[in-house]
Amino acid sequence: MRKYLIFSAVAAAMLALSSATFGQDTTRPGAVPDISGVWLVENFQPRLFPNGGAPFTPWAEMKFKATDPQTNDPNLACLPMGVPRFMIAAPYPMEILQMPTRVIIIHEGPQMMRQIYMNRQHPKDLDPTYSGDAIGKWEGDTLVVDTIGFNDKTWLDGGGLPHSEKMHVVERIRRTDHDTLVDTFTIDDPMAYTKPITAQQVYKLKPGWEIQEYVCEENNKYTYQGK
């Protein structure tokens, strides 16, 4: 009996620990993994292809040659980085909030809110936007996010990789341990790239951090020479 109690206590403690560790209660029917919290990219790399070699179509190559991070990065005008750039190539923290119907990502700089709808399809005839229309579903421990409906005013990264309104981004977001979140991106845009681009970003949990105000227009001394 005593052994049984000890075993039960250990098992209960382990269960409690695993729930606390990953912030989830998998014993509850319908429960989903907890990916909420403030996260920061582990390694900031502004360029998806730091050594070149992006599989441009001729259309995208022409657009890329006209980009210059010194003069026409939309960021210089405090325009949104949009999706997927703020998820891939931004060194500011983001907070993930989970609700049954939505996952909300608040990004600190430039401030942006991304909404991932959990129980609906993409609407028809979407207006193109910086963040697009994102829908999500859980596949086991992985949040799969499908985003379309983008405008073509953003870059994929800080190096100027262009994209079209046809871009389709699929992300697989998984908490691999208590402190680590991994997002694997597949960026498909046949108008801009001859094959899908895949990328991965690793985020680290930042306990105690809160998202701060970031008003980019307040004291922006940079000049945007885009049209």
């Binding site: 970031y214 980019c216 307040e218």
Partner: protein
């Protein structure tokens, strides 16, 4: 001026900056000389605790005249996490700033480390 501006190869500083550079994501770093580190000593005339960048303005005594320097940092959210506050520097403070100077030769610096007159140091790196 030359007494106050030291330029030296800075591999170690670059390593230190590998994430600190991240706080400058509002714009690319190509306009700064990222291979050399510059050190400038001067008197604070102003401090913009603002986004997307904070700035320190310095008067730097040269042989013949006073040079006006601008020192750029990252966003105030990230700076606060690195230990900065809105009153970290005040007009009249004598400070030394270490960072990367603008390639075009302007008296403009991208900060990596601040040294107070009492020797205390503050970086822009978030731990």
């Amino acid at each position: 001026m030359r007494n106050h501006l030291l330029v030296f190869p800075a591999t170690a500083v670059l390593l230190l900056l590998s994430f600190a550079g991240a706080t400058y994501a509002h714009h690319a770093n190509a306009s700064f000389d990222m291979t050399n580190s510059a050190t400038v000593k001067g008197t604070v005339t102003g401090f913009d605790w603002t986004n997307p960048h904070a700035y320190i303005y310095l008067d730097v005594k040269g042989k013949d005249a006073v040079e006006k320097w601008s020192v750029e940092m990252g966003s105030i959210g990230m700076l606060a996490r690195a230990g900065w506050r809105r009153d970290t520097v005040k007009p009249g403070d004598e400070i030394t700033v270490i960072g990367n100077r603008a390639k075009d030769g302007k008296t403009f610096l991208r900060l990596s480390k601040l040294v107070f007159s009492n020797g205390q140091e503050l970086t822009t790196t978030v731990q």
